[in-house]
Amino acid sequence: MRLIETILKIVRINGKKLSSVNEYLKIVGEFSKSYCVILWELNAKTEHLTTLAHWFLNSDQYPSIHDLPKGKSLTGFSLEANESQYCTDMRKDGRIYSECAFWIDYNIYSFVTIPITFRDGNKGALNVYSKKVNGFNEVTRKNLAILAAILPDFFQSLRNNVTYNLIENVDAKIKLSDSLLAYKGNEVEVDQIRLLFEQICKEVSVVFNCFETSIFLKNPFDGTLDYHRMASTWQPNDSQKVYKADKNDGLTGWILANKREVKITDLLLFDEQKHFIRSEYPDITWHARGNIRRAVSEILNITDTNQKLPPMGFMGAPIGIGDEIFGVIRCCACLEGPYYFGSSELEMLNLIAVRLSHTWKNFIQTNLINEDIGAWEKVVIKISELDKFVIYEIEKEVPNIFSIFEKALTLLPELIRDAEITDVRLLDKQRENLYFAAFFGEAWDSESTNSGENLVRRQKKFSVLGNSAGAKVFKSGETLVLDPIKEGDSYEQTFNGVKKLIVAPLQFGQNVFGVLDIRSKRDGTFKKAAKSVVELMGRQLALYYQLVTTILDHGKMQNEQIQTYQDFVHQVRSPIYQASARARKALNLAIQGAKPSILLENLQATSGLCNKATRVAENISLFSDLAKKNDVKINNHYLEPEIILKLLREIISDNIFMADPERNLKIDVDKKTFNILSDIRVHLDHNLLEQSLNVLLDNAIKYSFDNTVISISADLSNKSNFQINVKNFGNAISPEEVSLCKQRGYRSPLAVATTGEGGGIGLWVIDNIMKAQKGSLEIIATNSLHETHIKLVFPADKKHSR
């Protein structure tokens, strides 16, 4: 009757956890009134029996030994003979060897050992121990044999049930998470997946009674190829959180490297059983002994460091699809029996790993697709943000293109995950080198501890003829992608350890004026859209550059125009004041009865200064018309030799008088050459001619060296045009400057250095008024370093004889 009741109790055991096998042992113990019951399992390779599960009358007790050599124990003998054995008094039974520890440690006198065969084929034994001598009568022993006989089926049924429930629960969690992820659309964050995986780890730990279940995964979005701990039920600070992709050590590392599952019966026997373990898992290592011992001791509340700990099973399976490995799921150290992971537990772990693989792969692919879609959405948003910044910048009096570049660089890492080191390089004025116009990224400051080195790096220049990535892009106008950088890829290294780069041109039309450069020290490749995003940003920056340059040029032109008017005001005001002062002085001198020569000198000065003021005023009027694009008013007359010679006399007199006599400048007019006007007819505006000659002579005096001669002559060109030549010896116009000199506002560096006035508009005005008269201004670049030759060319007709 008691046996039937006992079996009914067994049937009612809640079989949702593997540890329910312990309840079975408890029922057996209570039925037989024993002190403890241990379920042993034989390791066929090592020929040792190890504790699978146990029950003690005092629940805080653990077996003092966990393995029995098959050949040196009564339990082993029973297995060998496939027959139950009964030891009535351990102190007197000569058949026992290893079991002696039970007598010594627990004061046990008798025990029954019943061999069993588990449904997976493994052999084992159910041992029931009593503190009494001859503690089990024959009826009890027979009933124990019946309870032992149904144990394998119970255990298998328990395993099946647990497996089914676990997979069902894991599937339910994944399904729930999938629907949440689907609902959230492209906002899938890795933390949501982490939450799911933590739930799965917890579920597995509960079902398998282990204190640690962990999942390690490679995340393509974190910029490394390493396997990071994604979820775990055991997270002490000193546990390993990362497995390096290129250094696969330890049990987890072995699984990653070999893409195979691992199951180790008892980690505590790792060293003793290394030979057997490595025959199945070649070269496998285990380093975390100290950590795990300490953790298990704490959890089981074992303070005695000499006390043997229960066995620590381990199993781990790769998470991956085909040859692609994403990571590992591992379980370690059971907190109560069954202490060992059987092959069915490992199969179950593999099934869970497959589910994790699909979930992770799905997450990665969804995020990669979302990242691509999101990247373009972000580009639109960020460029819009940049536009606002540019509008703000160009509203300033002097917009700063460098600020715009810096702002763009701060936005780039939000568009391209791995844009760690970024810069904009621009072509310098000499068009010889690219220089850093803006840069962004921690490496710019952290790469060197020495601020001097950082400064040198920032001031580094790259010859456009060189081999730098920027120079290549500058020359070709094509985007350069080195992703990843391979051995033999040739480019100039500004930073160490860079693994990939993209360099795009800053190009407007056909004109490349700089490059946008992004680099990364992280593993893995840039995302798919990265190249297009960098190219787009490069084009955008080129547009901003063009916009700001145009605004600055416009502002500069406006300023130059204002400056030119101011110059004119000064140029006209100065001679008027001086003329006035000279006239007053002449008057005083006359009253005082000064010598006529002194009086004449002052009157001449007054006259010259007045003429100069008049000409400057005329020039202002011309400049004003030309600046407004008004037509130049022309009042043409025929030019006679005596008219031009008179004009020259007056202009020379007024100008040379104002030059410092110590400069010893001479003006030589080759009068004879003007006789050609007797044979030709030249139709021109006398007033404009006076303006032109005045400017040319004024320039010649300003830029001539001391003790030189300015010569003026006339001749006919090959096309029979009338030409007036003005030559001087001083700061010459170089061939490169010939066309520039006719541009409004151009002043050569030498002209700027040697005159304290002028706005670079004299030759521009002459060029325009000559064109208005169908003539031209010609600047002849001579081979001489110091000779300047300028021609006023007028159309001429031959005079017909009467």
């Binding site: 101011q566 000064h570 005001r573 100065s574 001679p575 008027i576 004041y577 001086q578 006035s580 002062a581 000279r582 007053r584 000065a605 200064l609 104002m658 030059a659 410092d660 300003k702 830029y703 001539s704 060296f705 001391d706 001083g730 700061n731 560096p749 030498l750 700027v752 250095a753 040697t754 005159t755 304290g756 006035e757 110091h786």
Partner: protein, 145 residues
């Protein structure tokens, strides 16, 4: 007693020089006609400091010559518009010269150079070039006395 006129327009420097010499006796007038000329005369000024300096504001860097010295980068960028103030700041760095009164004699309106004038001190001052030179001569007279 020496007065230095820093002026690159010969007509102006000669007129002012003549006016000073006619009004004051025992006065030596030296004309410097460029910024580089001012810098080159600095050693001599330290040895024989002038009583007054008349300073034009817009000054050329140097006279044209075959082997002329080009202006340094900062002067190229700033241009000739404020050359007189650059010369003035050189004086202020020298203990011996820093208290010499400088008369900025220029056609520039006060508004155009107000920020620079705010930085001048002591007996230095601004006089606009005008047909009437008497304010200038009056000021020189007061400073000489």
């Amino acid at each position: 007693m020496k007065i230095i006129i820093v002026e690159d327009d010969y007509m102006q420097s000669s007129a002012i020089k003549s006016e000073i010499l006619s009004k004051f006796s025992k006065i030596e007038v030296q004309v410097i006609d460029s910024e580089l000329g001012f810098q080159s005369n600095f050693g001599e000024m330290l040895q024989n400091p002038p009583k007054i300096i008349l300073m034009d504001v817009m000054l050329r860097w140097t006279k044209p010559s075959q082997n002329m010295t080009l202006p340094p980068e900062n002067i190229r960028e700033e241009g000739f518009y404020k050359a007189g103030f650059r010369c003035h700041s050189l004086l202020k760095k020298q203990l011996i010269l820093k208290d010499i009164p400088v008369i900025f004699y220029t056609v520039l309106d006060k508004d155009d150079i107000q920020s620079e004038l705010d930085n001048i001190s002591g007996e230095s001052m601004y006089i606009v070039k005008n047909k009437d030179v008497s304010p200038l001569i009056g000021k020189i007279g007061r400073l000489i006395r």
